[in-house]
């Protein structure tokens, strides 16, 4: 590793912070710029250099604080500061040699802030990866340049595509150990592209890096003159995510009914919730499900008062012209574009409990703000996440299995296919006896 840079020790007790230096101005610029958020999921094991890569991103984007860095420097064995230790977890994990689950990290550049969900590779990988990827805009899959695409990389790419993470980055790491070979890189990139095409990954970027030495992570590497693509951080800063949201299908699950019942707001009745998709404006004609009644949006209140439009993921309160009976679990949409109201749920389910999922089982389904009871009608197949083979003989889903399941709910849910709408196309399964979250479901067309 390159010699560690040192930051000015600006919190020394003897010195107040100098906010006028060049370093300071850069930091203030990062802190105060108007930015958006990119949510990233990384998956892999220590062997891939994932922890080193994350440590590198945090360190090079100056998200590492001096006391953290010193603690890592003290704990490092040998001459190098082991950046992997920056992401080292709980004592409970160290003692037992296990990784517990998703850890969240934060860093920022002048363009963006990043929330990185770091999921361990081996133990409980599916459950963890699905959890981490569920909220991600982008997934990073690490590949060791010496080994090329292995089973684990395929699995990670598949899970990212299953969760419809819109952007996939393959970081081909340890390029220094293959002498920065363009041929090696091209072979891995080609193999991955072919695989990604089968998974219908919408956006794939492959970057040759050395996390240990920092090549092509933040700055372009002189070792890869043949590589004309972006550095990893540049890609993270510039990848276009605004169009990933569904702005077409207006969906507003009612979360909470706001009724002040005070003198000043005697007649106020508002429906609070988070816009799932689409755009709502005052004056829009809307339909409320399950009643099917139509009315007009009288006004929309945001955190700072009335707003002219509401789009995802804004949390707002809708006021409606007519005094309808609307409650939590109802859904507001447009009359000409309503979701499907159905009690039959066909979904890919990722099972996360020790006790297997079996047909005839009763279970609670939480979908948007609506929770219903359901019965498992059928297990169509279990999917092998390594080969994508569909085992139609399977009779149950065990821990970390993924399968296609049909559920019959006691009441209709208002759903879209997950591929079209990540919010109204998803649900969780809850065991009614233990209250544990035992599964995640993504609705897919029957067939």
């Amino acid at each position: 590793m390159a010699p560690a840079e040192t930051y000015p020790a600006v919190t020394d007790v003897d010195e107040p912070v100098d906010v006028h230096s060049a370093v300071a101005e850069h930091a203030v610029e990062i802190a105060t710029a108007r930015k958006d958020i990119l949510r990233i999921a990384t998956a892999g094991s220590v062997d891939d250099g994932k922890s080193t890569l994350i440590g590198r991103l945090l360190y090079d984007s100056k998200a590492i604080f001096e006391d953290q860095y010193e603690a890592v420097a003290r704990a490092s064995k040998g001459d190098h500061v082991d950046l992997a230790l920056l992401t080292d977890g709980l004592r409970a994990e160290r003692e037992q040699g296990i990784t517990i689950d998703v850890a969240y990290r934060y860093f920022a550049t002048p363009r963006r802030t990043f929330i990185l969900g770091d999921t361990p590779g081996h133990v409980q990988y599916t459950r963890n990866m699905v959890t981490g990827a569920s909220t991600a805009d982008l997934a990073i899959v690490l590949v060791d340049a010496r080994k090329g695409m292995v089973e684990q990389s395929r699995r990670h790419a598949f899970l990212a595509s299953l969760l419809r993470v819109p952007h996939l980055v393959v970081a081909v790491n340890k390029m220094d150990l293959v002498d920065w070979s363009e041929q090696t890189f091209d072979a891995i990139a080609d193999e991955f592209s072919a695989f990604a095409a089968k998974l219908s990954v919408p956006d794939l970027t492959v970057v040759p890096i050395s996390a240990l030495h920092g090549d092509n992570v933040v700055t372009h590497s002189p070792n890869t003159p043949w590589y004309e693509g972006p550095t990893l951080l540049h890609h993270l800063e510039h990848v276009h995510v605004a169009s990933d949201r569904n702005l077409t299908d207006a969906r507003f699950p009612v979360q909470y009914v706001v009724r002040p019942q005070t003198e000043a707001h005697h007649d106020y009745r508002g429906y609070a919730g988070t816009v799932a998709s689409g755009v709502f404006r005052p004056g829009d004609e809307v339909q409320v499900l399950p009643s099917g009644l139509t009315t007009t949006v009288a006004g929309i209140d945001g955190p700072r008062g009335p707003v002219e439009e509401a789009f995802p993921p804004m949390s707002v309160t809708l006021r409606l012209d007519d005094d309808l009976d609307v409650s939590r679990g109802d859904l507001v949409c447009k009359p000409e574009n309503a979701p499907t109201a159905t009690q039959d749920l066909d979904a890919l389910v990722c099972w996360m409990a020790d006790e297997p999922l079996r047909p005839r089982q009763r279970i609670a389904v939480k979908h948007t703000t609506r929770t219903v009871r359901a019965m498992v009608k059928e297990l169509a197949y279990r999917l092998d996440v390594n080969t994508l083979h569909r085992d139609r003989e399977a009779t149950e889903l065990g821990l970390n299995d993924i399968g296609r399941v049909r559920l019959r709910a006691t009441q209709p849910l208002f759903v879209d296919d997950y591929i079209r709408n990540r919010v109204t196309g998803r649900f969780i399964l809850v065991d009614e006896a233990t209250n544990a979250t035992v599964g995640a479901g993504m609705l897919t067309p029957a067939g």
Binding site: V10, T11, F65, M314, T437
Partner: protein, 302 residues
């Protein structure tokens, strides 16, 4: 507000996510309570709760675990803010609990550990099923792995190995009698986000957070303001310095940092430059061991 490209800034996104979490708890859990100390994070959390239900009142009470070692400024702020919002304040008092024999004073004078039984006692007395806390994942590595909805057993304990998977924004708040959920609406906020939000929304904060000349002593490489809880020890030479507080904990344990920042904007500039995490810089209690927070959390601490 018109946003032609339908993008929210990071603060607007975090705000929307927090409001969603707060509303979800109010809708699904029977008796929530919001932990409010008068510190900056709980001030922001309370402001988000206000926004979540406006123009209605916040539909749950707030609670302060009062160690009896508070900065007077902060208590004054707490009472004023609670009165403005018209919410009920419940005070769980550590000195009362010591008097009742529920807990014993620790030899080092820290009431950090003993506030946990006091908190759990109050939770049981009032039957609270959900407790909002202002903790952020960027504060500590134990926090980095905690859920937004963090399940606690009947003893208030956190089991890091047995957390419920948390997918999308579909939170599972189901519990059995006696169990509870700790809810962290600010999970994804960083210290800088908090300060930027305070600046942007012009949220009132206790004056302690801004620089002021105070009489201080240097202890273990940190500056402690001399007050009714901190007296110079032998060999410590008090001197005057311009300092502010980065965190507000117990007055006997919270150190100040040298600062010239007399406005929130100046605080932001300083924090942006500071290469020291806030707990490391100002909390005597977290210096004990690498896993101090992890241990306290397992016992039911926030």
């Amino acid at each position: 507000m018109t946003t032609p490209d339908y993008r929210l800034s990071q603060l607007e996104t975090l705000e929307a996510e927090s409001i969603h979490v707060i509303r979800e708890v109010a809708a699904e859990l029977e008796r929530p309570v919001l932990l409010f100390s008068g510190g900056k994070d709980s001030i922001v959390m309370l402001e988000l709760a206000r926004k979540a239900f406006a123009p209605a009142r916040i539909p749950f009470p707030v609670m302060h675990v009062d160690t009896g070692l508070n900065f007077p400024d902060v208590l004054e702020f707490r009472d004023k803010r609670v009165a403005e919002l018209g919410v009920q304040l419940i005070v769980a008092s550590v000195p009362d609990a010591i008097a009742r024999g529920l807990v014993k004073e620790e030899p080092n004078g820290s009431r950090n550990r003993i506030q946990t039984p006091v908190l759990l006692d109050a939770v049981e007395e009032h039957g609270f099923t959900a407790l909002f806390g202002g903790a952020r994942r960027d504060e500590d590595k134990a926090r980095a792995k905690e859920r937004v909805f963090s399940f606690r057993d009947e003893f208030g304990q956190w089991d890091p190995k047995n957390q419920r998977p948390e997918l999308w924004d579909l939170y599972n708040g189901r519990i059995h009698l006696g169990e509870s959920i700790r809810v962290f609406p600010l999970s994804n906020w960083t210290e800088l986000d908090i300060w930027q939000y305070i600046a942007r929304e012009q949220i009132a904060i206790p004056p302690l957070y801004l620089a002021q000349e105070r009489e201080v002593v240097e202890r273990h490489g940190m500056l402690y303001a001399v007050n009714e809880f901190i007296r110079p020890k032998d060999g410590e030479q008090p001197f005057r310095a311009t300092v502010r507080y980065r965190t507000v904990g117990d007055a006997n344990l919270t150190a100040a940092v040298r600062s010239e920042a007399t406005t929130v904007e100046e605080v932001i500039a300083e924090i942006a430059v500071t290469r020291m995490t806030e707990r490391g810089a100002t909390r005597g209690d977290d210096k004990v061991s690498d896993a101090a927070m992890e241990d306290r959390k397992k016992e039911g601490y926030f």
